[in-house]
């Protein structure tokens, strides 16, 4: 298991992931607290979001691996205006681009105060289950 899964289905009012196609396995794993990424067996390319082809060599359906769920903040912003329905009461909130230890970057909420975060900060993943079908990867400062 990569990180804890907290049930937030009752309180979540924001958009929820729609598992489909190459994304389905990724979102299914989040319910088990696992953060997946794709790593191509042919050429070693790591990638997110999940796709039906490898962006390195074109191999079809590159395999999933389980990420350690750790990384660093590549960059971030503090949203003072809600970008989606259901985020109004959250402002100001931190959205970061997290560079996973395995390489790919991922956009995610960081559960921290705006003045606690900085570029380069180490983070670890947790999950907020927001529907029966998916849990959001949400990072915490380590």
């Amino acid at each position: 298991m990569t990180g804890d899964v907290e049930d937030r289905r009752e309180e979540w009012e924001g958009p929820v992931p729609v598992p489909n196609g190459a994304n389905a396995d990724f979102w299914a794993a989040t319910l088990e607290g696992e953060l997946l990424y794709q790593r191509c067996a042919e050429c070693g390319t790591s990638q997110l979001y999940p796709r039906a082809v490898c962006t390195g060599c074109g191999a079809v359906d590159p395999a999933f691996e389980v990420s350690e769920g750790t990384g660093t903040v590549y960059t971030y912003t503090v949203c003072h205006i809600p970008g989606e329905p259901g985020f109004k009461d959250r402002t100001p909130y931190v959205v970061a681009n997290v560079e996973l230890t395995e390489g790919p970057r991922l956009l995610a909420l960081v559960d921290c105060e705006p003045d606690e975060i900085e570029v380069g900060a180490p983070v670890g993943v947790t999950f907020w289950q927001v529907t029966d079908e998916a849990a959001l990867p949400v990072f915490e400062l380590r």
Binding site: N23, Y49, V78, E84, P92, L107
Partner: protein, 382 residues
């Protein structure tokens, strides 16, 4: 080699047009640009439209204007840089004698209409990785890139603010600009926080309005006797679309690729450029584009704007109509950078508003979330 000539440019009414649709604004800009070129609708044989709220916008505008069998139709949607991108396709078509008079048009009701740029909200698997984060787009996406730039190069919020301040100085000279009162760096820093590090004055306006550019073949231009403002170089590219996680390096945009290509095609160097119209959806957009087009070293954009290079009287007059930050920004600003570049080369203005003896202009469009880049070099032929 035959190059398209900018024969006419125009805006529709700007800022607020509550009684108009995007199509009305695109059509009004079109007929005004044709009038500017001394051409009629009857002579139009090509249409290129982007950003309109229709998935077959070239067909719709052709119908609306009742065009007679147009042969060149373009509706490629690459965001705010679409209009620069079109210039390359028009050049190819004209080189093959497939069109003589092409209208590049845009219209929007971003401010008073209900459909605010729905193109950014298309349903796509990628969106499942973005929308649940609540990221306020586009500002939050550009803000993250700006934050990374600050981290890597020491760029400051004051330097970003400097872009808004110098742009406002230009806007003060433009009666059509929405905001014309001078502002200071402190005003920018004290304005309402939007998506850190951006405050309100780091962000473009949200306006209604449209614009159009009429490109004609060299033969047609000679017939018309218009000043020969030629499309001397064009290049486009993209780095990502909806998820900025996929942007290879958030501190470098596609302009680093399109700038050198367009400059080379036009046979110019940076010293030849008299005026730059660079998409400024946010202060950072213009700053990073200055760097990526090579007007200063990578990472030194902050210092470049701080030293006043882009302000009135500076060595590189930039966004001389006031840009998207102070003049207007109906969503796809790219058509307006072309319009202003052409007007400066024609010498349409007087006093400080006119860049003295401008012969070479660079118009650069940025689209999506720093996703697409298109550079056009316009040159006034002797």
């Amino acid at each position: 080699m035959s190059e398209p000539i900018v024969a006419g440019v125009a805006e529709s009414d700007l800022i607020e047009t509550p009684d108009r649709s995007w199509l009305d604004n695109a059509a009004i800009a079109t007929v005004r640009a044709l009038e500017d070129a001394d051409l009629t609708l009857e002579e139009v044989d090509g249409v290129a439209v982007a950003g309109g709220d229709d998935y077959m916008p070239a067909l719709l505008l052709s119908e609306y204007l009742d065009l007679d069998e147009p042969s060149f139709l373009e509706g490629t949607e690459i965001g705010g840089s679409s209009f620069e991108h079109f210039c390359g396709h028009v050049a190819d078509a004209m080189a093959r004698d497939r069109a003589d008079v092409v209208v590049i048009a845009y219209g929007s009701t971003s401010r008073t209409g209900s459909g605010r740029d729905r193109s950014l909200e298309v349903d796509h698997p990628v969106e499942s990785f973005v929308r649940p984060t609540g990221l306020f787009r586009p500002p939050g996406a550009y803000a993250m890139a700006a934050r990374r730039h600050m981290h890597e190069y020491g760029t400051t919020e004051e330097q970003l603010a400097e872009v808004a301040v110098s742009t406002r100085e230009w806007a003060a000279l433009n009666p059509k600009a929405e905001h014309r009162d001078p502002i200071t760096v402190d005003d920018v820093l004290d304005s309402r926080p939007i998506a850190e590090p951006f405050n309100m004055y780091d962000c473009c306006l949200v306006s209604d309005g449209g614009g159009a550019v009429v490109l004609v073949s060299e033969e047609k231009a000679r017939e018309l006797g218009v000043p020969e403002i030629s499309v001397a170089g064009v290049a486009s590219t993209t780095t990502h679309r909806g998820d900025v996680s996929e942007m290879p390096d958030m501190t470098t945009t596609g302009a680093a690729v399109t700038g050198p290509k367009a400059f080379k095609q036009a046979g110019i160097t940076h010293d030849d450029v008299d005026v730059a119209q660079l998409y400024d959806s946010f202060t950072y957009t213009a700053l990073v584009t200055l760097e990526d087009l090579g007007f200063c070293e990578k990472g030194e954009g902050g210092q470049f704007v701080e030293d006043g290079a882009t302000a009135p009287g500076g060595e590189l007059p930039m966004n001389t109509q006031g840009g998207g930050l102070s003049y207007c920004h109906p969503g796809h600003f790219g058509v307006f950078v072309l319009i202003e570049a052409a007007r400066q080369l024609r010498g349409d203005y007087t006093g400080q508003r006119q860049v003295d003896g401008a012969e070479v202009a660079v118009a650069h469009g940025t689209g999506g979330l720093l996703s697409s880049s298109s550079t056009v070099v316009l040159r006034r032929e002797a």
